[in-house]
Each structure stands twice: as structure tokens, then as C-alpha cells.
């Protein structure tokens, strides 16, 4: 439904090397390295509390890294902080709004801080407000806005000075579906000439906007690269879904080990572990089977030999969510690494 994102491969604009951040004893981000190029949208994806926000804050220079460095547009975020600030537009996780101000006066304030000349200010504010769907809302008080509108004002704030690099932390959260489409279109537009780092926990957003993504979980980069490559990592073993019924309910537990013993099968996993013993109403049990080749014939043979009833057997196409779960799953599912600050 959407045009493919523009090809990446421009100059490296954002480079993070071995970023690490501790809060006391807690390591919120550990050894995070990535690159973002001109003209690309780099997805930064991970579950809540994975360290996305902390990473974004280090890249913008708001938070000093405990170790490692980040270079934005050729400037070190620590040593040349002011140069970086001039070139980055940043939408923090929570839009930085003063509830007492009106949208108009707030954007005026931002424009002044950003050093946009007086003559260009009003026109630029008008343009940006149009673009994020705020035209005619100048006099609304920020404190009375809904989440979606606050998000739009936050985005307007980030792009007002036409920055070289945009760091967007969950830009579409709180927007309704129609608005999400608009805003994504806008971000895609922005990325034509700029570099956008998009932090999100919504996979579909990354699939729609990015060609490359960094997967982060529990403060570590667990995978990064083009989306195709990420998908491919799952494809190394093709997965199949099989539904079987053992005639003797008591012997059900034998099914998995027996399939697993097949030469063609690499791994067997009951898909719904809670009900593994019960099966569905008709007593069928779903399994996920991973195999380097095609094990279907072998499984069919085994089922026939053992007297199991085979109801379904299908090949499953890998998607990003699966890739994500797969990769993150390898690291373990616990999310006890604390919220990013």
C-alpha cells in the first residue's frame, strides 16, 4: 500500500559506538552501536524498557554516556554539544510542552530558541502547523490538548528549524489511525533529505517506514541490519505448523519427542504449552516444527505409522514480528531490566 522507502547508502550522519549507560548499579544501555545514513529512516525497536529512550537521549547529548561515544553530523555529542544541538530535532518520549502556553506562542518560543530569523518565523510556523495538521489551532492552550494533538505539536517543535537529523521517540503514540497515516507520510517526506531515527515499539511502523532497523532488548542491540536481512535470520530454519491428535489421550506427551527424533526435524515446540495436554475440543495439538529442509513427508509417515490423526500441516512465512520474537526470545523473555530514564 505504501511506496518502498528510498534506498539507503548515503553518508553516515549518526554514528554511535559502544554506548553504555549506568544508573547506579543498573545498566540501562550496554554496548549499543549503530549508524544512520542520510536519507534513511532508521528504526529503533524494542519492548518497553529495553533502553530505547536512554539511547535516544545519549544520541541527542541530553544524557552523557557512561562509556562509548556518539557522533552526529560530524560532531561529538559530548565535546561539541552545541553544534549537535543546532542540527538535531528531537521529539522526546513525552512532548515537551508548557501547558499554560498556546500552540502559537509555544512555537514562537521554540522558533526564537532555535534562532529562526524574525522575518521567517511566522511563515515557517504556518508551514509546519499545516504539515502536522494543526492549522487554525494557534490559540489553543497546550494544556487542554488531547494526546494526539500534543504529539503533533511535539513533532512540529522538532522539525521547526528544519534539522539535519531528527530523533523521534514514539512519534505516533496516542494518534488515531488516520492521523498515524498522515504523520508517517510526513516522516517519510522528511527523510528524503535528512536522517531520521525512529524509536518505537510498534513493529508495523518500522515495517512501513524503515529499510533498516536496530533491535534492542534489555539494553543490548540484539540484531540490526536491513529488514530483509532480519527476516532472513528467521528463515534459516523454515517453520511448519502441524496439528495432530493421538488416539490415546494419555500418550499425548509422546508426540513431540517422537517427531523431534526424526532426522529431518530440527526442533519441535508445542504452540500452546498451557493446553499441550488437553488439545482443542477435538483433541488436536498444534506444534511448531523447525527444519532445514521439508520434513512434511517424514511427519506424515510417522503419523500414519503411529496411528495419529493429521489435520493440518502448513509452511509458515516469516514476518518481522516473528523475527523480533525469535531474536528477542533467544535472549530470554524476562523484561526485568528496568525502565529507561
Amino acid at each position: 500500500m505504501t511506496a518502498p522507502p528510498p534506498p539507503a547508502g548515503g553518508d553516515v550522519v549518526v554514528q554511535a559506538v559502544g554506548l553504555r549507560r549506568r544508573f547506579g548499579d543498573l545498566v540501562a544501555v550496554d554496548d549499543v552501536s549503530f549508524e544512520a545514513h542520510r536519507g534513511e529512516i532508521l528504526g529503533f525497536i524494542g519492548p518497553n524498557g529495553a533502553g530505547k529512550t536512554t539511547s535516544m537521549r545519549m544520541v541527542t547529548g541530553y544524557l552523557p554516556a557512561t562509556e562509548g561515544k556518539a557522533v552526529v553530523a560530524g560532531f561529538d555529542v559530548f565535546d561539541d554539544n552545541m553544534e549537535v544541538r543546532r542540527r538535531v530535532g528531537y521529539l522526546p518520549e513525552r512532548p515537551p510542552l508548557y501547558p499554560e502556553l498556546t500552540i502559537g506562542s509555544y512555537l514562537q518560543f521554540v522558533a526564537e530558541l532555535r534562532g529562526i530569523e524574525r522575518g521567517r518565523r511566522d511563515r515557517r510556523i504556518g508551514e509546519v502547523m499545516d504539515r502536522v495538521g494543526l492549522s487554525g489551532w494557534e490559540d489553543r492552550v497546550l494544556g487542554s490538548l488531547s494526546k494526539g494533538y500534543r504529539q503533533r505539536v511535539g513533532l512540529a517543535q522538532a522539525v521547526l528549524h528544519d534539522p539535519q537529523v531528527l530523533v523521534l521517540d514514539e512519534p505516533t503514540s496516542g494518534l488515531d489511525p488516520a492521523q498515524v497515516v498522515d504523520i508517517r507520510e510526513f516522516i517519510r517526506d522528511l527523510a528524503r533529505e535528512r536522517t531520521v531515527i525512529l524509536s518505537t515499539h510498534i513493529l508495523s511502523e518500522v515495517e512501513r517506514l524503515c529499510r533498516r532497523a536496530v533491535l534492542i532488548a534489555r539494553g543490548r542491540v540484539v540484531a540490526q541490519g536491513s529488514l530483509d536481512a532480519l527476516r532472513a535470520r528467521v528463515d534459516r530454519g523454515t517453520r511448519f505448523r502441524v496439528e495432530l491428535r493421538h488416539p490415546d489421550a494419555g500418550e499425548r506427551a509422546q508426540i513431540a519427542p517422537l517427531i523431534g527424533a526424526l532426522e529431518e526435524v530440527e526442533q519441535v515446540r508445542p504452540l500452546d504449552p498451557a493446553d499441550a495436554d488437553a488439545g482443542d475440543d477435538e483433541g488436536f495439538l498444534p506444534f511448531e516444527i523447525r527444519a532445514p529442509g521439508d520434513p512434511r513427508t517424514a511427519i506424515a509417515r510417522l503419523a500414519t505409522a503411529r496411528g495419529w490423526t493429521l489435520r493440518a500441516m502448513e509452511r509458515r512465512a516469516p514476518d518481522l514480528e516473528e523475527a523480533f520474537l525469535h531474536i528477542v526470545g533467544k535472549e530470554g523473555h524476562t523484561q526485568a531490566r528496568g525502565e529507561g530514564r
Binding site: 549506568r22 552523557p64 554516556a65 557512561t66 562509556e67 562509548g68 559530548f78 492552550v141
Partner: protein, 491 residues
């Protein structure tokens, strides 16, 4: 070392060091600012700024280094002027304290600190006691405040600085000195209190610790004894005699000078000129010294210029004019007598002249070159006669003589009219008595006056003030807040 630790150490150490240094240099800057301070006093009449004279006295007190304790008692509580009085006294004491190292002060509640009051045997409200060593000076409430104006303009004024300044002089003065005032030739009278009396001067001198005694040389002359000046004399004053002195008297005065004594000699227009003036190289030409610059509205009261001399130093700084009335011109001999330095102290302005009658223009005298003497005209001359010369015997101290061309200068009338005259007279006495240290520190005839600003309000006015202050203003603010709130509602 870890990157973060390294950074923390580098920035942290640096920051701590810089912070300490910056704070230290700010303190230093303040010390510097304090050392080079200057101030302006914007209050009416610069009422917080001590007079130059008071500061000089404090300076002298500091040099002596002996602690001066000022105990001030409060005014009667409940009296309507009590807050003003107490505040005025406290402000003054603070100002004195700030200016001096040795002044310490306390303001005591007369009703509560009865014991202290009794110890100091103070029995009235608003009394001030100055103490230094064994010396003690009392200043009463009446000397600190005065009422001026009449009717609705009637108000209370605080003139405490002058009073305390006088107190300083008294407490600092060395033991009593004696000033002899020659009598018997129609001289100005120290006892007389009218405009042509000297009672004011006598009072001033008394405060400055001069005992003024009459000196009758004629009596001893009558009794066939050679008249002499008493040994305890500090200064002999010959205040405008209207009859000539006898030869024996003149000899006695010459002898006094010969002993290194001090003499104040005032002459005037039309009075006989003592012979000893000629011996001192001074003549009194005919005529009256006049100048265009007169004390308004008088046509015959010149305000002379001060010439640099020990006597006039403080006066020049304080810009206090001395006023004369019909002064006689003094003329120094072209060749000054040997071993003698003559310095004009008062002189007419450059446009002054010696008027000897002639035409009047517009009711006033004018300079007529063919008739009058040209100015500037000397009006007071200070002489120092060194020992070993023709006048003063060797081995004696330097004799000092001050000749005034105008006896009126020191009379009650002129001292009351021009505060500079009193200061001039006291300075002159100090100089003659060899008390150079007290020069520039004059009588305390001047001083600031802080006036009371009583609010004359009725009960009705008071309630208007109360409601405006406590009700109206907060209400206006509340209205402004409400307006803002309403205008933003629903946006």
C-alpha cells in the same frame, strides 16, 4: 580507567577548583569594592551624611584611640513624636559608629533600663551621655530637637549631630584654658547678650573649654604697678576698644608678645588704632572696605574671601561664609618686619575697594579711583613672630597675633546671622592658643537638621488608607487574575 570515571574526575575536579576560585575572587572583589566605596545620599538635605566637621572630630577621636561610649535614652513612649525621635537618634548613632573605630553606642529604653539611668544619674527621657575615660558630657533632649515653623507648618527638627559634635569637642578639649578679655576702653562685652554683645562667643568658647576672664590693666596702672598679662593666659583678646589704650597697656601687650603670647586684636572703622599695630607692620587706612558681593539684603556687609591659612581650612571645605559689617581695611607694610610672617586670612574680592565717601549710585557706594583705595583689601591678618627677632625674645615660643578689621565679626548679631562667623572665631582661638590639632574642627554651630514628617490624618483618612491598602489593591489583583482566567477558559 573507565571513560565515565575519567570524565567525572576531569570535569569534577576542574569544576570544584573553578567554583572555589570564582567564589574566592568574588569575595575579594567585594573587599575591593568596600575599600573603594563611594556613596550618594539622596535623602532630603543629605541627612544621613555626617558633616565634614563631625567626621574630622571622629577622626581625632580615632587618633586618640580611647573608646567613646554614647549612651542614649529613649523618648517617652506613647508620646506621638517618640518614634521619630528614637529613630533619628538611632540613625545618627549608627552613622557615627560607621565612621569611627572608637565610638560604641547603646540606645536604652529609659523606662526599662532604670538601673543604668540611675547609675548615670540620668533623670529625663531622651538624654544622651558621652563618656570617654573620666570625661563625661551630657546632652539633653532640648539640645537634640527644636521646633520650627508656626501653625500648620510647625514641626520638629532633629539637630542632634550639632549637639553631639559639640559634645565631642568638649570631651576632647584639653584642660581649661584661659582667655583674657581686655576691659576699660569700651570694648565689646562678654557678658552682654544683645546684638553687639559677645555672650554667644563666650558661650562657644566655654564649650570649647576656654574660660573667659576680664582683664583690667588700668586698675594696676592706677595703683602704680606696671601692668602685666597674667601667666595663665592662653590668649588675650582686645575686642574693638573705642578709647585709646594707655602707653603702659601697650607696653604690657608688647611684653606679652615678647614672651611668645597670643593676641587677638579687633579694630573697626572710626576706633583708635593701637600703637602696637604699627610695630607689627600693619596700618589701618581711612575708609570702609566694600565690595560688590554683599550679604543680601545688606549693602554694607561684605562676604570676604578666605585666604589659605590654618584658621580657614575647615571653612573653605565646608563652604561656610563669614560675614562682616563695615570692616576697616588693613594694610601691611611694604617691607615686613624682621622674623615675622604676615598672612591675610580674610580678604575682599578682587572688585573690593576702600570707600572714602563720594557719590552714591542707586543708593550704593561705588569705586571712585581718584578718591578710594584700590582692592583687594585685607580684612584680617594673621601674624607669626619668631623668637630672636625684634619683637619676641629668644628662647620663647612663636608669638601669634590675629588682627581683625571688623569687631562686629564676633558679636552676637553676626554670629547669629552667619554660622561661619562662629566657626571662624573658634578656629581663630584654637590657632592663637597653639591648639592646631583642633583646627578645622569647629564649634558644631552647623549640622544637619532632619525634620519630622508627621502625617496629619483624621480617623476618616486613616480608614481610607487602610481600605485602599488592604482591600482595594488585592481586589484589583484578584480581578486581573479572574479576567485572565475567563479569557482563557475553553481554549
Amino acid at each position: 580507567m573507565k571513560q565515565a570515571t575519567r570524565r567525572l574526575l576531569a570535569h569534577g575536579t576542574n569544576a570544584t577548583l573553578v567554583t572555589v576560585m570564582v567564589i574566592a575572587s568574588l569575595c575579594l572583589l567585594f573587599v575591593l569594592a568596600d575599600a573603594t566605596r563611594w556613596s550618594v545620599d539622596l535623602s532630603e538635605g543629605a541627612s544621613n551624611t555626617l558633616q565634614a566637621e563631625t567626621r574630622e572630630k571622629l577622626n581625632l577621636l580615632d587618633q586618640d584611640g580611647q573608646t567613646l561610649t554614647i549612651t542614649a535614652f529613649t523618648s517617652q513612649a506613647g508620646k506621638e513624636e517618640a518614634p521619630f525621635k528614637n529613630q533619628a537618634v538611632e540613625d545618627l548613632l549608627k552613622a557615627l559608629d560607621a565612621e569611627s573605630q572608637v565610638v560604641s553606642w547603646r540606645l536604652m529604653d529609659f523606662d526599662r533600663e532604670r538601673l543604668t539611668a540611675e547609675k548615670l544619674s540620668v533623670t529625663e527621657y531622651g538624654h544622651i551621655v558621652l563618656q570617654r575615660g573620666q570625661e563625661r558630657v551630657d546632652i539633653s533632649d532640648r539640645e537634640l530637637f527644636r521646633r520650627v515653623g508656626t501653625g500648620p507648618d510647625k514641626r520638629l527638627e532633629f539637630v542632634g549631630e550639632a549637639a553631639i559634635s559639640r559634645g565631642f569637642s568638649q570631651i576632647m578639649a584639653p584642660s581649661q584654658r584661659v582667655a583674657y578679655l581686655l576691659t576699660g576702653h569700651g570694648e565689646l562685652d562678654a557678658e552682654k547678650s544683645g546684638p553687639d554683645g559677645l555672650s554667644e562667643l563666650a558661650g562657644l568658647l566655654d564649650r570649647e573649654r576656654y574660660e573667659v576672664r576680664p582683664l583690667d590693666l588700668l586698675r594696676t596702672d592706677r595703683e602704680g604697678v606696671l601692668p602685666t598679662i597674667p601667666e595663665d593666659a592662653a590668649v588675650v583678646v582686645v575686642a574693638r576698644p573705642t578709647q585709646a589704650l594707655t602707653a603702659a597697656e601697650e607696653d604690657a601687650l608688647l611684653g606679652w608678645i615678647g614672651r611668645g603670647g597670643a593676641l587677638l586684636l579687633a579694630v573697626d572703622v572710626g576706633t583708635p588704632t593701637p600703637e602696637l599695630l604699627r610695630r607689627l607692620g600693619i596700618s589701618v587706612p581711612d575708609g570702609v572696605a566694600l565690595q560688590p558681593e554683599m550679604q543680601v539684603p545688606y549693602r554694607d556687609r561684605p562676604i570676604p574671601r578666605f585666604r589659605p591659612h590654618a584658621i580657614t581650612t575647615g571653612l573653605i571645605e565646608d563652604k561656610l561664609p563669614v560675614v562682616l559689617s563695615h570692616p576697616a581695611p588693613l594694610k601691611l607694610a611694604d617691607a615686613a618686619p624682621e622674623a615675622q610672617v604676615a598672612t591675610p586670612v580674610l580678604q575682599s574680592t578682587r572688585d573690593g575697594w576702600i570707600d572714602r565717601g563720594g557719590a552714591l549710585v542707586g543708593g550704593g557706594a561705588v569705586y571712585e579711583p581718584e578718591l578710594d583705595g584700590a582692592g583687594p583689601v585685607d580684612l584680617a591678618v594673621a601674624l607669626e613672630l619668631r623668637p630672636g627677632g625684634p619683637m619676641v625674645r629668644a628662647g620663647r615660643p612663636v608669638a601669634r597675633v590675629l588682627v581683625l578689621g571688623d569687631g562686629d565679626l564676633i558679636t552676637n548679631g553676626m554670629i547669629g546671622d552667619a554660622p561661619g562667623n562662629a566657626v571662624f572665631a573658634v578656629h581663630a582661638m584654637h590657632w592663637l592658643a597653639g591648639d592646631d590639632r583642633r583646627l578645622g574642627v569647629a564649634t558644631g554651630a552647623v549640622g544637619r537638621a532632619t525634620r519630622s514628617r508627621r502625617l496629619a490624618i483624621t480617623a476618616e483618612d486613616a480608614s481610607v488608607i487602610r481600605w485602599t491598602s488592604l482591600g482595594l489593591m488585592p481586589l484589583l489583583v484578584a480581578l486581573a487574575g479572574l479576567t485572565t482566567w475567563l479569557s482563557r477558559r475553553g481554549r
